[in-house]
């Protein structure tokens, strides 16, 4: 009898599982690339298996040293970062970090970044044969070195080119991470989907800067940095809302998630799943706490399936 009772208690009363463009997630709460290292950094705080997925630190073809310091600065309800994609390169990722996480039963999504279309293509090809990888997120908020440093993600032609190249080199589910630093996010989303994206993640950081008034110089050595944290949440929710209504692929929503309320906002705006980003720095166990809170919320509200919430805030008339 006690056994049976325990079993009943363990069986989830609600469905939390979602599908992110061919990536099955046990629940919609993931952690954003660049805010969770390779997962190990958080093992003392989070049972990684309980997360929907771990999106690991951005990987480039070759190792990168990253930008000189200062790399971060706190801003109102947020922070700016210009880390410069410091990472040990794709080979170290494949040989060290990927097997470690896979051995722990974690759903792993890689994140790739390059200076040229060719680098993105080579990265996709290198990761394509990795059975432990559930999918690939493509960071297109990088400067295109061959086109004078203009960000891939801010030009529809370059978005098409880079996503097409990645698509041609892998059968893995592709999540394209859109840059919010554009005039028309819906246009970028459409182009990415046409070029083969199975899902979209939005938003990446907003370009910003801070100035040290004593030194009368920019704070960051890189001058500009990416703004993240609660300060950007309304922008992110708006963009998810706009894009989700116009494309047929699922959306991974992120930007300033710190609470259950924030998770719900993104789902209601049309995100199928969410990523906790900067919040991981503030509260290392935040992601796992939100999984539990989301489940309790659905139970308390008698919502059988989390997917019922996705896009539930959409009005009937064009807004």
């Amino acid at each position: 009898m006690p056994d049976r009772k325990k079993k009943e208690k363990e069986r989830p009363a609600v469905n939390l599982a979602v599908d992110l463009g061919g990536i099955p997630l046990r629940n919609p709460v993931t952690v954003a690339s660049g805010t969770f290292g390779y997962g190990r950094e958080y093992e003392e705080f989070v049972d990684l298996k309980r997360l929907g997925a771990v999106i690991v630190k951005g990987t480039t073809l070759e190792p990168r040293a990253g930008n000189p310091p200062p790399r971060i600065v706190e801003t109102p309800a947020g922070m700016l970062n210009a880390i410069g994609l410091e990472n040990p390169g794709v080979e170290a990722f494949v040989s060290e970090h990927l097997p470690y996480l896979a051995g722990r039963g974690v759903t792993i999504i890689a994140n790739i970044a390059g200076d040229t279309v060719e680098e993105y293509a080579a990265l996709a090809a290198r990761l394509d044969g990795q059975p432990d990888l559930a999918g690939i997120e493509v960071n297109i908020s990088c400067p295109n070195v061959k086109r004078g440093g203009m960000q891939f993600g801010t030009d529809p032609g370059m978005v098409r080119e880079v996503v097409t190249a990645v698509r041609e080199n892998t059968g893995k589910p592709l999540v394209v991470k859109l840059s919010p630093n554009v005039t028309d996010i819906v246009q970028m989303a459409r182009v990415a989907v046409e070029a083969g994206a199975d899902a979209l993640s939005l938003i990446n950081t907003l370009l910003g800067m801070a100035i040290d008034v004593e030194k009368q110089r920019p704070v960051l050595a890189n001058v500009f940095g990416g703004l993240s944290g609660p300060a950007i949440k309304p922008v992110a929710v708006r963009m998810v809302y706009q894009v989700a209504r116009e494309v047929d692929v699922p959306i991974l929503g992120m930007g300033g998630i710190m609470s259950l309320g924030d998770v719900l906002e993104f789902l209601l705006a049309g995100a199928t799943a969410v990523s906790v980003g900067t919040g991981n720095f503030v509260e290392p166990h935040l992601s796992q706490r939100l999984v539990g809170e989301l489940e309790s919320y659905l139970e308390a509200r008698g919502i059988a399936d989390v997917r019922e919430l996705v896009g539930a805030a959409w009005g009937r008339n064009g807004r």
């Binding site: 660049g34 805010t35 969770f36 290292g37 950094e41 958080y42 003392e44 705080f45 040293a65 990253g66 930008n67 000189p68 310091p69 200062p70 790399r71 971060i72 600065v73 706190e74 109102p76 309800a77 947020g78 922070m79 970062n81 880390i83 410091e86 944290g229 609660p230 710190m258 900067t278 991981n280 720095f281 503030v282 509260e283 290392p284 166990h285």
Partner: protein, 266 residues
């Protein structure tokens, strides 16, 4: 070693001199593990602004009551908000974080050099050294006598110390590194520990290398996560294996680095 988050009860919080605060809270699981050189990462508010935690070197630990003490100076909005917390309130603490000062078994006479609030983590180190019966001398530096940190604890421990002040209000008039230069021949120190403003660390490095004495420095850096994930607290160091300059994470590769390892002004 296990890092944890504790909602710690504040049992003492007082302003020693204007802008200098001593904060003691009950965090038994952190206190039990804390080693000299490590730090705790504090949230100064439950609200979302300011958002990030603030790192503070561990100044003292009382195992009997499971308390940890930090010493800080109010330098901005975050530390100003922290200073408003009262006794019997709680503070959200993540720790213990970072590596620790090493205590080589061959060491006979250590010198500990601290400047300003940088003295804080060295006081806990001096205590552990004294408890291990290592001969230790502490050199303290500050702009003026009132800002000399930790003398009460050192007195209680019976640790020898000397002071230098910029205005000559106590001890030597000048920098604490001048004190180090004067004492180094007389005392035959064989290990140097230091923490303080960057110019002081540069000078200590120079003195240590001239005299061929090994030692360690504890660095301060702005950081977000404190656990090696954000890569925001990068500091250039010379890798001993191949002499290459690489970025180290102050939070997990440090905050303690060997003298000579840190590349300053880079």
């Amino acid at each position: 070693m296990r890092k944890i988050v504790e909602h710690a009860l504040i049992i003492r919080h007082r302003e020693i001199v204007p802008t200098y605060f001593e904060l003691e809270f009950i965090a038994p699981d952190i206190a039990r593990q804390a080693l000299p050189g490590q730090f705790v990462h504090l949230r100064v508010t439950r609200s979302l602004d300011p958002l990030l935690r603030r790192p503070f070197g561990i100044y003292n630990v009382e195992q009997k009551i499971g308390s940890v003490t930090v010493f800080y100076r109010v330098v901005g909005r975050g530390t100003a908000m922290l200073s408003d917390l009262h006794t019997a309130e709680t503070v959200d603490v993540l720790g213990p974080l970072g590596n620790t000062f090493s205590i080589p078994s061959t060491m006979q006479r250590a010198v500990v050099v601290g400047g300003g609030v940088g003295i804080a983590p060295l006081v806990y180190l001096a205590r552990v050294l004294a408890e291990r019966k290592v001969e230790v001398m502490v050199l303290l530096g500050a702009s003026t006598a009132g800002f000399l940190v930790g003398r009460d604890i050192l007195k209680r421990l019976g640790v020898d110390y000397m002071v230098a002040t910029d205005d000559g209000s106590e001890g030597l008039k000048g920098h604490v590194t001048e004190l180090l230069e004067r004492m180094i021949d007389r005392k035959r120190f064989d290990y140097i520990y230091a923490c303080g403003p960057e110019p002081m660390m540069v000078k200590v490095t120079e003195i240590a290398q001239q005299n061929g004495i090994p030692g360690e420095l504890s660095l301060e850096e702005h950081m977000a996560c404190g656990i090696g994930a954000c890569l925001g607290c990068a500091k250039k160091v010379r890798r001993p294996a191949d002499g290459q300059d690489v970025y180290a994470k102050v939070c997990t590769d440090g905050p303690v680095f060997r003298i000579g390892e840190v590349v300053f002004n880079a």
